[in-house]
C-alpha cells in the first residue's frame, strides 16, 4: 500500500521532468516503531524468526510447529522439502508493524501465509492455545498450497482451477482444531435467523469471518457424511475439472446445489430444536441498541440519571459512547472519538472492557502509537484527567476500578508475549504485577472488600486444551485459588452490587451464557459468614456503606463458591455482563451477525428460580501443564538474522502507442525475507531505430529501507525518449541522475515526506535546433494527513490533506528554476450513515523559469472536460460533492442463473477551476487566454466492481464564460476510479 506507492511516486516525480506524476497519494502509515533484533532459530522443518525478548515463546512456537508438521504430513500424505519460514511476533501491535505485507493488519487478523515467498507470519496474544491453533491453521495453508502445486505441476497443469477461498480457509479451520462454541454461535445465528449463505453464494461473503465458519462447517459435514479421505481427494483430483465444483462432482458424485441442500437440512435438524428451550436474546431481554456493533457495557448512576457507557461502531469509526437510560428512545452520544487521531488510534473491539467508577471517571485503553495507553476520562467535566503508559507492557485490556477508586486492575501483555494481571495505584502511579507466568490471565475484577482480584485464567488443568476458569488472587498474601473448574471458558466476572453474587459468561453448556455463582466469604475463623453487605449506590452518601467490622476489613477474606446457576438460555453467545444496583444485568449479545446490548431487569430473581447446577470440583492443585518446548540446544540452532533476497515481482510488458510507437520492458522487485530491504528495477526500451537502441534504454534502480520508523529510498535513473509539452512541443530528452527520499510518519494518520533528486537533462527540440542542457536538482517537502473512513466508492468521513513545498533548479546553466506549492485538502462531512458532503480545495502552483504545468480535467477532478487536457502553471480548484446511496443492491435473474450486483451510489457535484499560465507558443497559437475559469455541475453514479474497481458515470453541464453561464450541451463522462 503506502510503501509501494511512496516508492513508485518518487520514481515518477523525480525521474520525469514533465512532472506528470503530480497525482498525489494519501494513505495511512504503517509505522515501524520498534527496532527488532531479529534472530533465526532452525529446527528440522522450519526457520523461525523472532527477537530475543520472546525467545521462550519462539521455542514454544517451534515445538508446536514441528508437532503440527508431523500431523499434517500424515494428513496430506505429503511433505515439504524446503524449510518453512515462520515469523513470530509476541504481540499483535508488533505484528501490525511487519513489512512482509504492505497491507494493514487489523486486530481481527490472527496470522497469514504469504505464498509468494512461502512465509508464515503469526502474532501471539498471550494465549498458548490460540498461538498453537493459529500455527496449525497457517501450516494447513502451507501444506495445501504445496500439495496442490505438486499435483498440478506433475501433470503440467499449473494454470488449472484453483480452490476457492472458502475451501482454503474452511480447510485450514477444519484441520486445525475442533469445532468450538464461538463457531457454533455464528452458525446457530445464521440458521435460526434464516440468513445462512448457501455454498453457491459463498463468493458474496468472500474473506469474511462468516465465510471461514460456513466453509469449515460445510467441510465438516462432507467429512462426516462422505468420509475424511474425500477432503484430500479434492486436492488430488484438482486437475480434473474446469472449475472446483467439477472436482466435487468427481469425488463425491454431487454438485454444490445438491450438497448445499443436504448440508442446510442437516443444520436445520440440528439447530431448530434449540428454540424449544432457548431464546433469542432480543426476545427474552430488553433491547438497548439495535444498530451497528455495540459491546462492553459499563453502568454509571448519577444524580441526573442512569447511563450506560460502551464501545460502539455505527459509522465506521469505533467510539466510546454514552447512552442515557431514561425511557424515551435516547440517542447515544460520542464520548471518545476513536480512529481519527493518534491519541485514540484504535479502540479494541471485542477484546477489552471499559469501566467507570462512581465518580464518573471512565477507564479504558486504546492503541496510541507503539503500545496501548490506559486513559482516565472524567465524564462529568468531559475531559481527560490522566493517562498511563508502562514500559514493557504492549497491550492493556479490561481495566477495572477498585471499590474505593484508588486503584485499577487490568490485563497486560508484555514484550515476551505473556499476559498477566497488574494493579495500578492511581495516586502514586505505582504498578504491581499480580501474576507472572506463561498462563494467560485476563478480565480482572476487584472483590467487594478490595482485598482480592477475581480473574479468568488458563492456569486450570484444562488450560492446555483452551479452557479458562475463574481464579481469585489474595493481594496481601499472594495466594491464588480456583473457584470454577472444567473444560470450558469462564470469563468476564462481575460482582453484584451487594457483593453476594459473581456473574460471568461460560460456555460449559454450549454457547456462552450468563452464569451466576453465590459467593460466600469465609472469615479467618473458618466460619462461613453471611456475605458482607456493600452498597454501591453512588451519590447516596457513605452512610449506606457497610463494609463490616474493622477485623473483617483487615483480614484476608476467602471467597467460596456456593450455588451456581445458569441465568440465561440464549441461542447465541452473550458476553461482558454488567450489574445494576437493583440486580439487573446489561450484557453484549451476538445475534443477527452483530453485537448488541441487552438488559435483563430481574437477573437476580431469575437466578432464584433456576435449578442449581452441579458444582465444579475444585482441587486447587497446581496445574501441571506447561507449553511444549522444542528439544534443541537453543544456542546451537539460533543465529542472527542475515538478509537473503528473493524475487517478489518479475513482469514483462509490451505496449504500442500510435504516437510514441512500441515499447517493451520489464520490472523486477526483490526483497529480504522480512520485507525490510527492497530493490526495484524498472527497465524498458523505446528506441525507434536500431542506432538508438542503447541510448533508448530507460531504467530506474531503487532501494527502499523500511526497517525503522524513518523509511528511506534512493536510487539512480536514466530516461531517454520523445516527450511533449505545451512550451516545447515535441522534444527528445535524456535525463539521468539519482534521487533520495525519506518518509517520517508522525502517527498512523500523519507523516512528512522529503525527497530530493539531481540529474542532467539534455533536451533537444524537434521543431528547432535548440538544445537545452540543465543540471537539475529538486527538493520537495510534504505533509500528509489521512484519517478518512471509506464507503464503497470513496471516503465518507474524516479528512485527507497534502501540502507540498518544493524547488527545482538548474545549478549549472540556470535554464530552469521554479518553486512549487501544492495544497490538496479534502474533507468529508458525514451527514448520515451513508451520506456525506465532500469538499476538495486544491492549489497547484509552479512559478519560475521553465516551470512545469499541472494538468486537470476528466472524471477525477474537473468533470465534463477531457482527461488532463486543461493545463497551467497555476491551478486553483474547488469541488463540492454530495454523496448518497442510490441503489443498495440489485440482481438480474436469467434462465440459466442469477447475477447479483452491489451498491450503486450517487453524487451531486459542483466543480470549479481557475487556471493560470505564463503562456507558450502553443497556447498563443491555440488562442487560449489565461487566466481561465472553468466549471461543471451535474450528477454522477458510481459502481464498485468486486471491490477492485469503481466505475463512474458523470452527467452534467459545463459552466463557462468565466462562470457566468451554463452550457446548453450535456456531457456524459464514463471512466473508472474512486471518489476523491
Amino acid at each position: 500500500m503506502k510503501k509501494y506507492f511512496f516508492s513508485i511516486i518518487l520514481v515518477l516525480i523525480f525521474t520525469s521532468n514533465d512532472a506528470l506524476s503530480q497525482r498525489f497519494y494519501y494513505g495511512r502509515n504503517k509505522i515501524q516503531y520498534t527496532d527488532f533484533d531479529w534472530m533465526v532459530l532452525t529446527t528440522d522443518h522450519f526457520n523461525i524468526y523472532y527477537y530475543p525478548e520472546m525467545k521462550k515463546l519462539a521455542e514454544q512456537g517451534a515445538f508446536y510447529a514441528e508437532e503440527s508438521y508431523k500431523i499434517l504430513e500424515n494428513k496430506f500424505s505429503h511433505t515439504i522439502t524446503k524449510k518453512i519460514p515462520l515469523i513470530f511476533y509476541s504481540a499483535h501491535l508488533f505484528f501490525q508493524q511487519t513489512n512482509t505485507t504492505a497491507s494493514f493488519l487489523p486486530e481481527g487478523i490472527g496470522g497469514f501465509f504469504e505464498f509468494f515467498k512461502g512465509r508464515v507470519v503469526i502474532p501471539s496474544d498471550g494465549s498458548t492455545f490460540r498461538f498453537k491453533r493459529v500455527i496449525h491453521h497457517e501450516l494447513v495453508h502451507v501444506f495445501m498450497h504445496s500439495k496442490i502445486y505438486w499435483v498440478q505441476k506433475n501433470e503440467g497443469k499449473t494454470r488449472q482451477v484453483q480452490p476457492p477461498l472458502w475451501f482454503i480457509e474452511g480447510l485450514a479451520e477444519l484441520w486445525s482444531g475442533e469445532w468450538d462454541t464461538q463457531s457454533e454461535m455464528v452458525l446457530v445465528d445464521q440458521v435460526l435467523e434464516g440468513t445462512l449463505v448457501p455454498i453457491t453464494s459463498f463468493g458474496a461473503i468472500a474473506g469474511s469471518y462468516l465465510m471461514y465458519k460456513e466453509g469449515e462447517n460445510f467441510l465438516r459435514y462432507i467429512e462426516k457424511t462422505y468420509g475424511e479421505e474425500k477432503i484430500l481427494m479434492f486436492m488430488e483430483n484438482i486437475t480434473r475439472g474446469k472449475k472446483f465444483e467439477d472436482v466435487f462432482k468427481l469425488v463425491i458424485g454431487k454438485g454444490y446445489a445438491e450438497l448445499n441442500d443436504e448440508w442446510v437440512y442437516s443444520l436445520k435438524k440440528q439447530y431448530y430444536p434449540l428454540l424449544e428451550n432457548n431464546e433469542f436474546p432480543r426476545m427474552a431481554a430488553e433491547k438497548v441498541t439495535d444498530r451497528g456493533l455495540n459491546e462492553a457495557p459499563a453502568y454509571h448512576r448519577t444524580e441526573y440519571g442512569d447511563f450506560l457507557y460502551y464501545i460502539s461502531n455505527t459509522t465506521g469509526y469505533t467510539n466510546i459512547v454514552k447512552l442515557s437510560l431514561k425511557p424515551g428512545g435516547q440517542k447515544p452520544e460520542i464520548v471518545i472519538k476513536g480512529e481519527r487521531t493518534e491519541q485514540y488510534e484504535v479502540i479494541h473491539f471485542l477484546s477489552s472492557k471499559i469501566d467507570i467508577n462512581e465518580d464518573g471517571i471512565l477507564a479504558f485503553s486504546t492503541k496510541s502509537g507503539e503500545t496501548d495507553i490506559l486513559y482516565l476520562y472524567d465524564t462529568n467535566a468531559n475531559k481527560l484527567v490522566d493517562d498511563f503508559k508502562f514500559p514493557g507492557i504492549i497491550t492493556i485490556s479490561s481495566p477495572s476500578w477498585s471499590i474505593d477508586k484508588s486503584a485499577i486492575a487490568f490485563a497486560g501483555l508484555n514484550i515476551a508475549g505473556n499476559r498477566d494481571i497488574y494493579t495500578l495505584d492511581i495516586e502514586s502511579g505505582f504498578l504491581s504485577q499480580e501474576t507472572d507466568d506463561f498462563y494467560d490471565d485476563k478480565n480482572p475484577v476487584w472483590s467487594p472488600d478490595g482485598g482480592s482480584l477475581v480473574f479468568s485464567s488458563s492456569r486450570t488443568a484444562y488450560g492446555e486444551q483452551g479452557a479458562y476458569n475463574l481464579f481469585v488472587k489474595e493481594l496481601d498474601t499472594g495466594e491464588i485459588y480456583q473457584i470454577t473448574n472444567g473444560l470450558h471458558v469462564d470469563r468476564s466476572p462481575v460482582w453484584s452490587y451487594e457483593g453476594n453474587y459473581l456473574a460471568y459468561t461460560s460456555n460449559r453448556n454450549g454457547v456462552a451464557n450468563v452464569f451466576m455463582t453465590h459467593m460466600y466469604e469465609v472469615l479467618p475463623s473458618g466460619n462461613k459468614g453471611r456475605t458482607t453487605t456493600i452498597s454501591f449506590e453512588s451519590g447516596l452518601g457513605d452512610e449506606n456503606k457497610d463494609i463490616g467490622s474493622e477485623d473483617l476489613q483487615n483480614a484476608a477474606i476467602f471467597y467460596e463458591p456456593g450455588e451456581t446457576k445458569q441465568v440465561t438460555n440464549f441461542t447465541t453467545g452473550v458476553f461482558d455482563p454488567e450489574f445494576t444496583p437493583e440486580g439487573g444485568l446489561f450484557f453484549t449479545a451476538f445475534e443477527r451477525y452483530s453485537y448488541q446490548l441487552r438488559y435483563l431487569e430481574n437477573a437476580l430473581d431469575i437466578f432464584e428460580e433456576k435449578p442449581i447446577l452441579e458444582t465444579d470440583e475444585i482441587t486447587n492443585d497446581d496445574s501441571d501443564w506447561k507449553p511444549g518446548e522444542i528439544d534443541i540446544v537453543h544456542d546451537q540452532n539460533a543465529g542472527v538474522y542475515e538478509k537473503k533476497y528473493s524475487l517478489d515481482i518479475a513482469q514483462g510488458q509490451v505496449t504500442n502507442d500510435p504516437l510514441f510507437g512500441t515499447n517493451g520492458g520489464a520490472r523486477f522487485a526483490i526483497s529480504d525475507l522480512l520485507g525490510n530491504d527492497r530493490y526495484f528495477l524498472l527497465l524498458y526500451n523505446n528506441s525507434q531505430t536500431k542506432e538508438n537502441i542503447f541510448r533508448s534504454f530507460n531504467f530506474t534502480l531503487m532501494r527502499s529501507l523500511l526497517k525503522k520508523r524513518i523509511n528511506y529510498n534512493y536510487g539512480i535513473f536514466h530516461f531517454s525518449g520523445r516527450r511533449f509539452n505545451e512550451a516545447d512541443f515535441f522534444f527528445n530528452e535524456r535525463y539521468y541522475g539519482g534521487f533520495f527520499g525519506m518518509s517520517y510518519p508522525i502517527s498512523l494518520f500523519e507523516r512528512f515526506d522529503f525527497s530530493t533528486n539531481f540529474g542532467r537533462s539534455e533536451r533537444d527540440k524537434l521543431l528547432d535546433d535548440q538544445e537545452r542542457i540543465a543540471l537539475l536538482t529538486g527538493a520537495y517537502l510534504s505533509y500528509v494527513k489521512d484519517n478518512s473512513m471509506w464507503g464503497p466508492t470513496g471516503p465518507l468521513d474524516g479528512a485527507r490533506y497534502i501540502v507540498t513545498l518544493g524547488k527545482t533548479k538548474d545549478i549549472s546553466y540556470n535554464n530552469v528554476s521554479y518553486n512549487t506549492l501544492i495544497i490538496d485538502l479534502r474533507k468529508y462531512f458525514r451527514l448520515s450513515n451513508s451520506t456525506a458532503l465532500a469538499v476538495r480545495l486544491m492549489t497547484n502552483i509552479n512559478r519560475g523559469r521553465e516551470a512545469q504545468r499541472f494538468y486537470i480535467g476528466g472524471s477525477w477532478d474537473l468533470r465534463g472536460y477531457p482527461l488532463w487536457q486543461i493545463w497551467g502553471q497555476e491551478i486553483n480548484f474547488l469541488s463540492v460533492e454530495y454523496r448518497f446511496p442510490f441503489i443498495d443492491n440489485f440482481g438480474i435473474r436469467f434462465p440459466f442463473g442469477r447475477m447479483g450486483f452491489g451498491a450503486i451510489r450517487g453524487a451531486l457535484f459542483l466543480d470549479a477551476a481557475r487556471i493560470n499560465d505564463s503562456g507558450s507558443e502553443f497556447t498563443r497559437l491555440d488562442g487560449v487566454e489565461f487566466p481561465r475559469k472553468l466549471g461543471s455541475v451535474g450528477i454522477g453514479f458510481r459502481f464498485n466492481l468486486a471491490g477492485a474497481l469503481v466505475l463512474r458515470l458523470d452527467i452534467g453541464k459545463r459552466i463557462q464564460n468565466n462562470f457566468s453561464s451554463i452550457s446548453g450541451k450535456t456531457f456524459k463522462q464514463f471512466f473508472f476510479g474512486w471518489d476523491f
Partner: protein
Amino acid sequence: MNKKIRTQPNCAKLFLFLLFVSLAVFACASGFRVSPLESDIQWTEIGGDGFHSFAREADDIENPELLFRLKPLSMVGSTIVTGDNTVFCCTQKGYLQAYDLTKGKLLGKIKIKYKMISAPVYDNHTLYFAAVDGRFTINSFDAVRGRFNWRKNLGVFESALTVSGDNLFAANRSGLVYNLDKESGDIVWEYQADSEILSGTIVVDDLVIVGSLKGIISALDKSTGEEVWQYNSGMILRATPSSDGSRIFWGTLDNTLLALDARSGSELWRFNTNGAIYTTPSVTKESITFGCNDGKIYSIDKITGEERWRFDTETVVNTSCITIGSTVYFGALNKMVYGLDAVSGKKIWEFPVEGRVVGNPAYYDGKLIFPVESRFLYVFGQNKN
C-alpha cells in the same frame, strides 16, 4: 492422329502418397517393441507377482550403486512393472513408456493423453494398462509386435490391474469389478461393489478379492463373479492388498493393517499404527513389512501380527517396500532410498535421490528401480565392473 498428351505430374496425388508414407512410418515409429526373453516369471504386476508380494528370494544386491537414471516424460503416476528386461511406466501426463533395463535406453512410448495412475500388468509379453479418462480406458498391448490387441472404455480406473490365468481383473472408480478375457477383452462378468474402488484387486486361488473405499471387502468366485464372502472392515481402503496365498494383508487409512483369512474372510489380527497406510505390504515367508504415513517402516510377524521391529524415517512413507533377499528397500518423501536388514531392521544402505519417492519400487534380475517425483527412474544394482 491423336497425340497422347503428356499431362503434368499430379502434385496432389504425389503429396498424398508421401503423406501416407510418412504417416505409416510415423505410426510404426510410435509405440515400442520388446524382445521376449525366456523367463520363469509368468507375469508381473504390482508387487511383481500375482500376490503383490513385493518380495524376491534373490541374491542380495551388495552395496547397490546407481547404474543409470531413466527420464520419463513426466512424473510416473502408477506402479512400474518389469518384464523381458524392460521396465514399463505410466506417467501423469498420459504416456506409457518402456525402457531397456540393460542399456537404460528408451524403447518407445505410447501417448494416451490421459493420466494413468493404475498399476499395469505385464503378462506373457502383453501389457495391460488403464487410464482415468479418454476414449479407451483399458488397453491390451502386444509388446513384441508393438501394437494394440484390444482397447475398451470401461470407466475411470485408478486401481491396479491383475491377471490370473486367462483373465484380466480390473475395478473402476464407480465400484464396478470386471473380469475380462485377456485375449479378446470381452467381459466375462461384472460385479457392482457398494462404493468406489481405488485399491487393486487380488486373486487368491479361485477368489477375486476387492475392497471398496468404504471398507467392504468382497471375495468373488473367479469364474462366476458370485459373492463368496464379505467382510466389513469399517475402514477406508485405498491401498492395494498383498497375500501369501492363504492370508490377505491390507493397509487402511484408519491407521490399521488388517490380516484376513483369504478363504473365509475372517479377521486374523490387526496392527495399529499412528498414520494412514497407503502402501502394499511386502510379504516374505516370515513377515510382512510396510511403510506408513507416521514415517515408520514396520515389520510384523505375519502369523501372529506381533511387531518384530520398526524403523523411523521421520518423514512420510507412502510407497511400498520391496524385499530382495535379506534386505528391505524403500523410498521416502525425504528424498532418500533406504535398505534395511530384513531381520533386525537396521539400516544398511541409503542413497539420496533428487525428489520425493512417490512410486512403488520394482525389481528385475538384480536391478532395483525407484520412481522419483522429479521424473526420474533410479536404477540401482551391483556394478559388475
